[in-house]
Symmetry: C2
Subunit: 210 residues, 2 copies
């Protein structure tokens, strides 16, 4: 299935068949590994994933996300998190870049310092970096799942605080989106995707008209 | 090319062949339209795109982005923006949802109110929504371009203020990432992608260990 086809076939599933699929831990990890081929700034790969498959845990997640019943019925949920302290991996990036010949050993300190400066610039900068990279991977997860015939729903209405508490997510990781995986309900019909806004209303050329 | 293949083939191109491709306005718009099949919360589609192809405009963008020379050489740049006032489209969403049978007419006001509440909750909430959705589309743009044999580079080091001023981007739209499109340099070699962190270091099951 090519990318365009996967994009067209992806649906935000509104109801799952309760535990309709048995998704192995290894299968989900492989899906995540593939999705992580996303780019990231300074190659920091500032993303983490919490996989929820256990029934009781899904119940907790359901409670944390304003009781959206499809969470209970999904086969698995992946809590995609962004790392707001991605610069702590700056040392690894620098080593990789030297190995790839992108920078010289003598530039190592300068590069590491500038990576740290980017993160230390502001709270907003840290937030943007954490969300942007995690979102790339979440999008890939949805496309890869679609390609495998698995239905997905991105859930963004949840209490950050409740999820942190229930799943022991440290402050440094920001839960960006929950990607639910499963089999679409066999009894309730799946509505089509919402129509898209015509591109002519979204695209500007050379400058935005105010 | 399937999704996994596109993910593997995508490279962050480090140098473009100067104006190596002639990318038509219509071609880029079609790419954007396909990428916009991404999901968005409440189906608000809170993204906008500024396409830069003109040589002088690329020069301006280069200045706004700390003189990264590959910006000048790219065939086109798409400034992907997130809409921090996505709730202004709530009315359209509600109409679409009624037409799709997702909600009843009598729920219209309640749904519209809750969409507005989500955006009005906090500055952080608005930021997250704007970045997450724009990032989904940016990822799709890179995959679709890869599928078409076009090289891409996501640029995130830029002065938000300088870009806003130079390209007349109103406060409501946040520039999230610049996606450069072009032909890889035929003279300077393209390094491989950085190795990825093993998934075992990124994935947690059922809860995160502190």
């Amino acid at each position: 299935m090519d990318v365009n086809e996967a994009l067209k076939r992806r649906r935000t599933t509104r109801a799952f068949e309760p535990d309709g699929l048995m998704l192995q831990r290894e299968f989900i990890e492989e899906l995540i590994a593939k999705a992580c081929m996303a780019p990231s700034e300074f190659d920091l790969q500032p993303w983490r994933f919490l996989v929820v498959r256990d029934r009781e845990r899904k119940e907790m997640l359901y409670q944390c996300a304003f009781r959206q019943s499809l969470i209970r019925d999904a086969s698995a949920a992946i809590i995609v998190c962004g790392d707001t302290r991605g610069h702590e991996a700056a040392n690894r990036t620098v080593k990789d870049w030297i190995a790839l010949g992108l920078i010289d050993q003598k530039d190592a300190l300068r590069v590491e310092t500038s990576i740290k400066a980017a993160y230390e610039a502001s709270e907003k900068a840290r937030l943007i970096m954490a969300i942007r990279n995690a979102s790339y991977v979440a999008m890939n997860l949805m496309l890869l799942a679609t390609e495998q015939g698995i239905a997905t729903t991105p859930i963004v209405s949840f209490s950050e605080e409740a999820i942190r508490r229930a799943f022991k997510i440290p402050e440094r990781y920001l839960p960006v989106v929950l990607v639910l995986l499963g089999l679409p309900s066999t009894t309730s019909p799946q509505p089509p995707e919402c129509p898209r806004v015509p591109v002519s209303q979204l695209v500007f050329h050379e400058e935005m008209e105010p």
